[in-house]
């Protein structure tokens, strides 16, 4: 028996990388997956096809999660077509170059750098949550999962702006969890370590990967597929009594 039969799952930034792996995993469990993407129509179509092959249904929908108008329109469209959203996975993020050698040092950062990441992570998450809330409240159920990063617990490389914004998402999620618990809506976060290969980690130097692997008990770097399991768990009723939590998916690099 598949776990998500009849459920509608919206995954943002799902054409490639972690988002696509999450979408495929939901589809394999029978879900109807809405694949939100920004630019790469071809990749989105490929993920849709993969989801259908896996036994779920899928639909790609273009929309910039940074734009309030686009988000509202997208959610409206989904609700008109499918009638509900059971699970929202906020996975999209503003493109960020994870280059340990060329990253900005603390004293080189401007407020604009932080603002850009806050907009990319927190503002987009907020926009999506606001847009799905009314119907989730009405149905007294729903699960929201926000993808953050294990850098929030241990900035092994201090990507200040990126990690600060992801930390804000955790704070935001906890508050939202407190507020929405009474409506039966759960909000949790998944914090992966370095995930490889993805578009953002393609240029991560071998030395950095080796450094992380050496400090990871399970001795490898996460693959996009590794992130999907905990997301599905938080979306399912198996985690029905969990809210406001952050699950670290990094092979034991962080233990808390």
């Amino acid at each position: 028996m598949v776990k998500f039969q009849g459920k509608v799952v919206l995954v943002t930034g799902a054409s490639r990388g972690i988002g696509a792996a999450i979408a495929r995993a939901f589809a394999a469990e029978g879900a109807f997956v809405i694949i939100n993407y920004l630019q790469n129509e071809l990749a989105a179509a490929r993920t849709v096809a993969a989801c259908q092959e896996l036994g779920g249904d899928a639909w790609a929908i273009k929309g910039d999660v940074m734009s309030e108008g686009a988000v509202t329109e997208m959610i409206q469209q989904v609700l008109v077509e499918v009638g509900k959203i059971d699970v929202l996975v906020n996975n999209a993020f503003k493109p960020y170059e994870f280059d340990p050698d060329k990253r900005k040092l603390a004293w080189q950062l401007t407020w604009q750098d932080f603002q850009a990441q806050m907009d990319g992570a927190l503002r987009s998450t907020h926009g999506l949550c606001q847009a799905v809330l009314p119907q989730m409240k009405k149905r007294s159920q729903g699960s929201i999962i926000n993808i953050v990063s294990n850098l929030v617990a241990r900035p092994i490389i201090p990507y200040h702006d990126y990690t600060t914004a992801k930390s804000a998402v955790i704070g935001y999620s906890r508050n939202l969890a407190a507020e929405l618990g009474p409506f039966g809506i759960r909000v949790n976060c998944v914090a992966p370590g370095l995930v490889y290969p993805t578009e953002s980690s393609r240029h991560t130097k071998e030395e950095v990967k080796e450094m992380i692997i050496a400090q990871t008990p399970l001795r490898k770097i996460a693959s996009p597929e590794d992130v999907a399991g905990p997301v599905l768990f938080l979306a399912s009723e198996w985690s029905g009594f969990m809210t406001g939590q952050t699950l670290y998916v990094d092979g034991g690099f962080i233990m808390k």
Partner: protein, 482 residues
């Protein structure tokens, strides 16, 4: 996608017949057009390259040649250059290796051919690199100069991408003209390199050619092999034997055949902290090019008495193989390779009941197998990420096991403390091993290594001596004699 292989100076594309070799990886299809030269064309090419070798290459100073090769190698090290991009895009399709394996493999291989490494390469074999430019004084009296041949013919194998570079660059360094025959399994890299070389230094455009013929085409082979002053051949012992039979007896033949390499882990490297690092390095040697290189390990001898036992080491190694299977997936195996894997595994499983200490780690569904055995004889691996861990007490025990394999032994990756390293090196040298390196570096030989114990450059050249007698005699004939 389509790509043309080869490099044929002085012959236009439409004068040549082309044959298509098709490669597929996942859904990507690449059609490579390989040139089929008529016998006269091959003869002309050989003549032309010999001439250019005499008139162009031999007039360049070795310093100039090194600069040119360095520039060409830099093109392939630049991740943004069109040639490098093409290599990263197409070689995974041609060879089936994971793109990441190709990317890292290319960089770590190519960086051993930069100017400092090339100079070291020359110094290693020649001592004084000016020997390639002028007659140099000798300590015992007289003078000597190193002359490269006019034409070296290379017959390459396709097991590891870009490998032809070793012998091609060695040929260029001794100012020789070169014709290389690429393997159908990897027909592209050598041609790209030749093109880049001609772009970097147009004077060299006519000094080398990259050709192809169908393996076993005796006429074609005989006609070109007869033209070469030196023939360098890579491949299985069978293909080398057939090559040898077609080479004139006066031609120098340098065969590089199949080899067997292995790892050696001492108890010093098996403490609580380092055991994992050792297993990590060992696994890297196995997964790089799926053990297809002559330097890839077939098995690991692991010493008892460390904090981590050989059996536990095998399990660390197995987990590392599993992690690497995700990070750098194994290439898709051919039907023959799959059958060989299954047969090898079955053979191992058969003896499982009679040898209770033996363990087979990893199941059929995994892209690797680690077998742990005590007191077993060594056997060549069926490759493609299949290794044995053999428990050992004293290193002297392994000598009798190695002796039957003497002609095949090449690299040993060693993890040991300094004092033991020298003792082990002495032992291994006696057994016929020619290269001792660290675990984790088995597939990356240093610049200037002695390939199969031989001299890369010295084997190609002729030393020409002016004996002191000639010098003294000449003095008597000088116009200034009083």
């Amino acid at each position: 996608m389509k790509e043309r292989a080869g490099y044929l100076p002085g012959i236009s594309e439409d004068e040549v017949a082309w044959q298509t070799v098709t490669f597929t990886r996942n859904e990507e299809v690449l059609e490579v057009a390989v040139p089929v030269l008529a016998q006269e064309q091959m003869q002309q090419l050989a003549e032309q390259i010999k001439n250019n070798s005499r008139q162009v290459l031999k007039t360049l100073a070795i310093g100039e040649i090194v600069e040119i090769l360095d520039k060409a190698v830099a093109v392939f090290l630049d991740r943004h250059s069109p040639y490098r991009r093409k290599a990263e895009q197409l070689l995974p399709i041609v060879t089936g290796y994971d793109p990441e394996v190709i990317r890292h493999g290319l960089t770590s291989f190519l960086k051993t051919f930069r100017k400092p490494q090339l100079l070291r390469f020359l110094a290693e074999d020649l001592g004084n690199i000016s020997l390639l430019d002028d007659f140099q004084p000798r300590a015992k009296g007289g003078f000597a100069k190193a002359f490269g041949p006019d034409l070296i013919v290379h017959v390459w194998a396709g097991n590891v991408p870009a490998l032809p570079l070793w012998s091609l660059l060695a040929g260029m360094l001794v100012k020789s003209g070169n014709i290389g025959k690429v393997a159908s399994a990897e027909p592209l890299f050598a041609g790209w390199f030749a093109n880049v070389l001609a772009e970097v230094e147009p004077r060299l455009a006519g000094c080398l050619a990259i050709v192809w013929w169908k393996g076993g085409d005796e006429e074609q082979e005989r006609s070109l092999l007869g033209q070469g002053d030196v023939v360098v051949g890579y491949g299985s012992n069978t293909s080398l034997a057939s090559l040898r039979s077609r080479i004139p007896v006066t031609t120098r033949f340098l065969p590089y055949g199949h080899k067997m390499s292995f790892g050696l882990v001492t108890k010093d490297s098996l403490d609580a902290r380092k055991a994992w690092q050792t297993a990590h390095a060992a696994a890297l040697d196995v997964i790089r090019y799926d053990q297809q290189g002559c330097y890839s390990p077939h098995f690991f001898y692991v010493q008892r008495g460390g904090a981590v036992s050989p059996g536990e080491f095998a399990k660390y190694l197995a987990h590392e193989m599993e992690c690497f299977a995700r990070r750098y997936p194994r290439r898709a195996l051919s039907l023959e390779e799959m059958a060989a894997q299954a047969a090898w595994r079955q053979q191992e499983e058969l003896t499982l009941f009679s040898t209770p200490t033996k363990e087979i780690l990893g199941d059929d569904a995994r892209a690797w197998t680690v077998v742990y055995e005590e007191g077993a004889q060594i056997t060549p691996s069926c490759l493609n990420r299949t290794v044995k861990v053999l428990a050992v007490d004293q290193w002297e025990e392994i000598l009798p096991q190695l002796i039957p394999y003497r002609p095949l032994l090449q690299t040993v990756g060693v993890a040991s403390a300094p004092r033991e390293l020298w003792q082990i090196a002495e032992l291994l040298g006696r057994a016929g091993v020619t290269r001792i390196t660290s675990l984790g570096k088995m597939t990356s030989p240093e610049a200037g290594w002695h390939h199969d114990g031989r001299f890369n450059l010295l084997d190609l050249i002729n030393m020409v001596d002016i004996e002191s007698a000639a010098e003294e005699y000449a003095e008597r004939l000088a116009p200034y004699v009083d």
